[in-house]
Point group: D2
Chain length 299, copies 4
């Protein structure tokens, strides 16, 4: 926690953490990579069913709909609208964690007391609003199943340094400052094919904690994968979520959970190119510990 | 409704409407405009208070927070998470309407029966998912108060052809195919300064219906403003929301409501440049009539 | 549907249906049965977990709680409050159906058009408010497993005329006008012991449609059981829920779903008395198709 | 707080507080008062609009409704159901507070640590479930406006010992053990006629703290009124809600907020009788700090 700490690095009041590494220059450079103008969504479809890995299903109710319309009714009857409610944290919805999502020994990133995230008011510090100008930078994909020649990484197994080394050797990119580092395990795609698994019973793949020093050293701005971003079980008795705990609290690292990376992997494969511009635009939710997002890669 | 119709133009099954006008070439071109890598959010901050123009306030509840933590408690107590629920349509939350939001005489855009948007299942057609790959294209800003030399456009008054003509004459752009056309009235900023107004009683500014033929002719992909995008009262007895009704149902036009354009206006003014790349990335919500968004302009 | 119809019986505007059978005299008589003043709840505990028979779990969020309090903090920090949200219909929450819950061929009870229950406004007719003065009358329990000498009635099997005849012969009561007729299957208790079952796959016990003529003839005011009150599968191709459809729409019968009858059965058994006063007090929810309740029997 | 304390009176584990005073004998006696079988609701209608005194309006959404039905559609389309969500605490919904609603210096009633009411799990102690067998006892009404010859008690003014003394002198009852004591101010009725008032700005009537010793001495089981049950402003710097704080935490007193007492007052007046049986049946909500209720008086 100490050796990788970014506390104080960007000032005592900083709430942006590793997003500070995305300079205008990095944004400009990322967009200069775009040759085609092709866009690919990295969001998992939000549905409204409960499942083994969805204990609190999102809610969707219609306030008005079209099936009640009858010929001749006035124009005020001709609109549809809906209510959407969700707990985005968890293992199914594509979302980004703000730096308010985890704390350690009573402190948030940069030493702020955890009480600042209160039941009554929410994240009065470290809200996702710190990312309101958006994340527009370079993304790189480490497609672990492709690199290992398997369909997907097994639950309980993680993506680590070896996978990254292999990706850098074979995929034409070197992870650098301000990047969104995406690690594909294939787990979410496998879940769509074979059904939901409760990660607290059946385990989960994800990034291995051994990646954290490299993430720190290289200056990764956002870490994402098609998992909840912690291998389960963790094997560390003191940490329930080592990547989140050291990453968010120590490093001020922004983490993208449950990204849908199968379409992106295909797009990379088709082009033999594993770097791209990526846009992650969190909603401007006041006092929130994160936001559902639809990250879009551009080639 | 007829003369501006795009029904059938992109095939009988089309649900993307004017988003079809954003070709990869347009996306690529938009990104080529970026010189600095500076990003500006066009989202209004989501808060949770009711008001005269917020009859159904968004909900925000914490499932776990930091204020209950006590020294020595285990790591499983060191995470915060929240529930967010909202009716995004209305006059306060920045959101994009999918083509399921309005229908006319029982038909959605492209002639699909309105029953396809049902109470039980939501938008089984024309869901916002049609925009899941994101809107990445050129944006242009018509800053009406600046052009007219006023602080804001009065409620009941609209932005129309004259404002657009003036913008094209003075601001160095010509509205073209695939553009996101943003009209600033200053109304939302004025609301922040002087307090909420119920638009059903106090009226609203917005784009005038006279713009629709120009929007059609030029091939605008998305129309947005810092209002609910229909002048109130409308003056048309048969239409409660002429811009939405002709735009969405007839033209398949995607509409961005309640954008926060004051920061953008300042950024444009500072650069004397009213065109930019813009990213609007709707959440991948199944069967929904739109999505809250955080549109981000890049200079 | 026709032969059991109560349409028009209590006037063209009636929305109370069989509750009209609970006269002050019946209420007075029921209370005169009370000898001890002992009360027994017939409500199933509302919890917040999803399950095979709970696709949309109730929601419970705290707006303020006690675990964040620190010595010395002011009195405004010393209160706890919560948000509760639920879909009460279904197979788990004890609730009463108003006459707006079902319709048939486009008509609610008493011939009112089904459109009166609208997506935008809810039950503008036949709301549960019709029962706002409460249901205070005699209850009788037909304890089918006791009468048959089994632990519970199997899913797919129903409680019918023979069970009622046996109860009347052995339990010292005759079902009469204004009664709340409770049928115990033991299914809900069995569910607590052996786990949830999706009734759409695993079936359900409940009252058999053959009871409807007797219910009509005797003037039962409320029918309840520890099930969703329709045997599943029904065996009737034209009816998904014959007891609800004929009962609610035709007879104006109020139905109590998912009552917790195991404690009541024990209380009856201990006293060798299967009649009692019962109070069912629906919340005064405007435009609602029913209400969660906590029915309380008094001996 | 000390002199009125009931801590330990009914055992170290007690969570029922003053409900212990409602013995079967009291219940039996209350029901013996019933002469007519006439029932009167004391619940305020739950509607779904925000207002000055309703910052978080209840939610009501339809999952299925009748306005979409078309002739010939199958029986599975012939049911209506709804979602109801609410924050019942506050100044508008008739509800009962459990003993988890307030704490003092970190302790709930009977000395239990306030942490037992947690953000993550809710009221793991002192939940409203403690009242699951219902409150069936004698109610008495102190109709303060009637006794004073005014239309309603002004906001800021309270109901106190003098009103109670007058009621006992003129209305034929003496407050006794196990009673539900209802104090009518007329404030809620006045609100219906002249519009909502934010009690934090415009004040509130309610029971005066001077009543607490009498409530203690006489053994009142439940205190209710047609207000939020604390005069606002309170005039006590250390107490935001003296009646709630001393009542709930010290005495274990159950409090009924926002009861609708105008119909009851009329029923009492008509009979010249201000005592009656009353039923208050809280929903069996696990881990909740109270419940919306529909209290029903029986004459």
């Amino acid at each position: 926690m100490q050796s990788l700490s970014n506390w104080g690095r960007w000032g005592a009041d900083d709430q942006r953490g590793t997003l500070n590494l995305i300079t205008p220059e990095r944004t400009r450079h990322a967009l200069s990579l775009v040759r085609e103008g092709a866009t690919v969504s990295c969001a998992h479809r939000v549905s409204y069913e409960g499942a083994a890995d969805v204990p609190r299903p999102p809610q969707h109710y219609m306030l008005s709909s079209g099936d009640g319309y009858r010929p001749g009714e006035g124009p005020d009857r001709q609109a549809c609208s809906d209510y959407i409610g969700l707990v985005f944290h968890g293992h199914i919805i594509t979302h980004i964690d703000s730096l308010a999502h985890f704390f350690w020994d009573g402190r948030l990133y940069n030493g702020v007391p955890a009480q600042r995230v209160s039941t009554a008011e929410g994240a009065t510090s470290h809200s996702v609003e710190a990312a309101r100008t958006g994340i527009v930078t370079r993304g790189v994909l480490v497609d672990a199943p492709m690199l290992r020649g398997v369909h997907f990484i097994e639950r309980g197994d993680g993506v680590g340094l070896e996978d990254v080394a292999r990706a850098e050797a074979q995929c034409g990119f070197k992870i650098g400052e301000g990047d969104v580092l995406l690690l594909r395990t294939g787990q979410l795609g496998q879940r769509e094919r074979t059904g939901p698994v409760d990660p607290y019973r059946g385990g989960s793949s994800g990034p291995l904690p051994e990646l954290l020093p490299l993430i720190h050293e290289r200056g990764v701005a956002v870490l994402g994968s098609d998992t909840g971003n912690d291998v389960m079980p963790t094997g560390y008795p003191r940490f329930t979520n080592p990547v989140h705990q050291v990453g968010i609290v120590g490093m001020g690292l922004w983490i993208l959970d449950n990204a849908w990376l199968d379409d992106l992997a295909e797009a990379c494969q088709a082009r033999k190119q594993w770097e791209f511009a990526i846009n992650i635009l969190p909603l401007r939710l006041s006092n929130a510990t994160g936001s559902p997002v639809n990250p879009v890669a551009v080639f």
